[in-house]
Symmetry: C2
DNA sequence: ATAATTTCTAAACCTAACTTTAGGTCAAGC
DNA sequence: GCTTGACCTAAAGTTAGGTTTAGAAATTAT
């Protein structure tokens, strides 16, 4: 029960609000690497609470789990991350967020002019510029807007 | 070949950049109602090009297909929609878009203070306010941030 | 010492938004 | 009149991000 024994998965779930199954799933996706105790059960460090919190926030920002794994890869694995480490990573997120906001603002600027005027015809409509929206939101393969300008 | 015979599905796909299979899928979801010719093949009105364009734009704004179906339901079905009809619908989208932008701006305001300082602890972090992000982005059931404040 | 919780793994299931496949029909060009 | 290409339906497959289930083993509580 000493602190050095680490937190079992249920405790981590309780502290983060995540389901136990989600935490195991994140591990399967390479976002987390708990150790195992003598009986084979997962044990976590306290720092993993923050790691999971970060994952949840990054998801809100629209990052996929592979994206997040990459970002987290820049954390030191030989020591517990410091606030400074997290700040560096926060800055990376900020870039993502800024880009998404810009996209939406641009869409909004065009909305009145485009749908508002009823033009909505693909060849001219500004809403169809390919660099909008952070790459293929939504699941499954799909023709992206602007992918087939042969209209 | 007269205009009154309508467009076959491939033509519609060509003009919108959508896959034929996607257009059939939208019909199955109730977003489109082509008529059938003598041989049982789908025939579309020219106005359906705009309808599909609208669907693509609305998706970029984060609306689900059921959401879009509802919005489209307010179009008149006894006549071809006018630019004015589309403008009314554009205004509805605008509300959605504004909300999404507000959310992201709020997240950005908190980012430096929260991740930046390294606090990231659930009970205090402003990023964990439940009204953030337009309801449960991402598929499948999932605990929403803030849903379990019993941390 | 036993009962009640937790945890374990593997595999199946879930949703959204589509695509792919298979086997057959329709329409258009020569 | 026949071949080629477009179209049809129904069902199964795909991806992301998980959840659910089942049966077994470990831990905790009494």
């Amino acid at each position: 029960m000493a602190v050095s024994e680490g937190l079992p998965i249920g405790a981590l779930a309780g502290r983060t609000g995540l389901a136990v199954s989600a935490i195991r799933y994140y591990e399967a996706q390479g976002l987390l690497k708990p150790w195992r105790n003598a009986g084979g059960q997962r044990r976590y460090q306290r720092a993993d609470i923050r790691r999971l919190s970060f994952i949840m926030i990054a998801q809100q920002f629209g990052l996929s789990l592979p994206d997040i794994r990459e970002v987290l890869a820049s954390l030191p694995n030989n020591r517990t991350p410091t606030p400074k480490d997290w700040a560096r990573i926060g800055a990376a997120l900020r870039g993502h967020l800024d880009a998404r906001i810009d996209t939406l603002l641009r869409l909004r600027d065009n909305l009145d002019g485009c749908i508002g005027c009823g033009c909505l015809s693909l060849p001219k409509c500004k809403l169809y510029n390919r660099d909008d929206i952070a790459q293929s939101k939504g699941t499954g393969p799909r023709y992206l807007l602007g992918d087939r300008p042969d209209v």
